[in-house]
Amino acid sequence: MTKNIVLEVKNLKKKFGPPAEEFVAIEDISFSLEEGDILGFLGPNGAGKSTTIYCVLGLIDPDFGEINIFGKSIKKNRSEILKQMNYASAEFTLPWNLTLRECLSVFGRFYEVKELKKRITELLELFEMSHLKDKPIRDLSFGQRARGNLCKALLNKPKLLLLDEPMASMDPDVVDKGIKLIKQIQQEEKMSILYTSHNMWEIEEVASNVVFINHGKIIASGTPLELTKQVLKSGASEPNLREVFIQLSRTKEDSSEPN
């Protein structure tokens, strides 16, 4: 049975800077994400992952290409589409001086979440943060803030979730719990997730498919196991994305070929 395409990125291109100092952030990227799938979006620093995510969120205008979400163009239907999406990145924090519960109440209103109090209680319990609900964000640890971000990202039960290194700076135990929770919620809600991380174990755990980009181009894609076999040229029975990452990151731009 064919699944619905939730996110479709077609021939995306983006350059920054004046012509003399032009920097190509995205040379030509096309990929799609099906309903209920988790797509690992990998690449070294500066590869174009975050730029792509910002284009998907409508926070950067691409120079060329199309981004369709739920079959509609993000450029023309941004607000309507974002109601069914959410985003979390450890790079951005919730309002520093508000308590966790206050933050979630504010963001819940952005998404017009029904029965908001109940939803906040559910999420705080799920992420084992109920005891922290009245603490200001500034008093939370890095890991707790990242979990708070995930609560925010799940407030509206999004159909499409963009996670840009959501578990950065969390300890392995918390990452493990976080991943299990994300997978559980993703399966229950049939959520589609675009997931970036530099922790390859995290991606192996969650992603059904992986797209690897470097220098603004897709240089490999497939399931984690397919990618391992293809890039490492071995008959591996287990995925090894760490080795794949190292090998692909060190591939020179001119020798890389789109898969």
Partner: protein, 260 residues
């Protein structure tokens, strides 16, 4: 004491000053404007009756507060999301820029209402000055002050979006740039001709002139009101157009996600 380490801090501030426009305002522009303001005021008060002068000054101060609070608060409320590194979280929600700006304006209006109530009460109780003696004119003065402050606030946000958060402190400095020319504490006629020309294109100068006329003669000058309103519509249109232009540019250049 290690003077090398002390000099390291001095060097850091020297480097920052070279790049940060607001430091230039702090060091030079702001003191110059301050001395101009009080210089013109001194010139004006010579020969005025104490009672009238007190009413002009207190009335001017209270009405100035409407402009200053709203003009700075819109920008400062925006800066809170940048200082908290929360702006991208907010902008990745379904909220539109129009909704976001509207909310910032409402927040500043609520804060203004509280401040206005407090200072009006204090002026009435301790200084025997009733701002309500301006009658219905007070609401019309308030409207023009609010509109110009809103135009200012939107312009401030556009500047921060374009030049980054380091320019943020300008959001509470810029309103004071117009103060000497806005005839807050003295009439436009006190100013030299060149400055009078500037005052004539500042809508709130008509508000303060109008306020003094009401206090002095009990007459509300409708010409002043309409002139200020037309100028405000022009400034609001320019400010919103500038904001829209900057927004298009930063969406294209990717600067929006770097403002944080």
């Amino acid at each position: 004491m290690n003077l090398t380490r002390v000099s390291a801090i001095l060097l850091r501030h020297y480097f920052l000053s070279l790049r940060q426009l607001e430091r230039f305002f702090d060091v030079i522009i702001s003191p110059v404007l301050m001395i101009m303001l009080w210089g013109f005021l001194t010139k004006y008060v010579q020969g005025l009756q104490t009672e009238t002068l007190a009413a002009f000054l207190l009335g001017g101060m209270i009405l100035w507060l409407i402009f200053e609070k709203v003009g700075t608060d819109i920008g400062v409320n925006f800066m809170f999301d940048i200082w908290d590194r929360n702006l991208i979280n907010v902008l990745s929600t379904p909220i539109t820029f129009l909704e976001y700006l509207t909310a910032l304006i409402i927040v500043s209006l609520v804060k203004l209402s509280l401040s206005f109530f407090m200072i009006s009460l204090i002026a009435a109780v301790f200084y025997n000055f009733q701002i309500t003696s301006l009658g219905f004119g007070l609401a019309l003065f308030g409207l023009n002050l609010f509109l110009f402050a809103t135009a200012f606030g939107i312009f401030n946000i556009a500047l921060v979006l374009r030049f980054g958060h380091s320019i943020g402190p300008l959001t509470w400095i810029i309103p004071f740039l117009v103060q000497p020319f806005a005839a807050v504490f003295y009439p436009v006629s006190v100013l030299p001709i060149f400055f009078q020309n500037i005052a004539h294109i500042i809508p709130i100068s008509y508000v303060f002139e109008g306020m003094r006329q009401v206090i002095k003669d009990g007459q509300f000058n409708t010409d002043f009101f309409w002139t200020a309103l037309v100028l405000n519509i022009i400034y609001l249109t320019l400010s919103i157009s500038f904001f829209a232009f900057i927004l298009r540019r930063i969406l294209k250049s990717g600067r929006l996600v770097k403002v944080v």
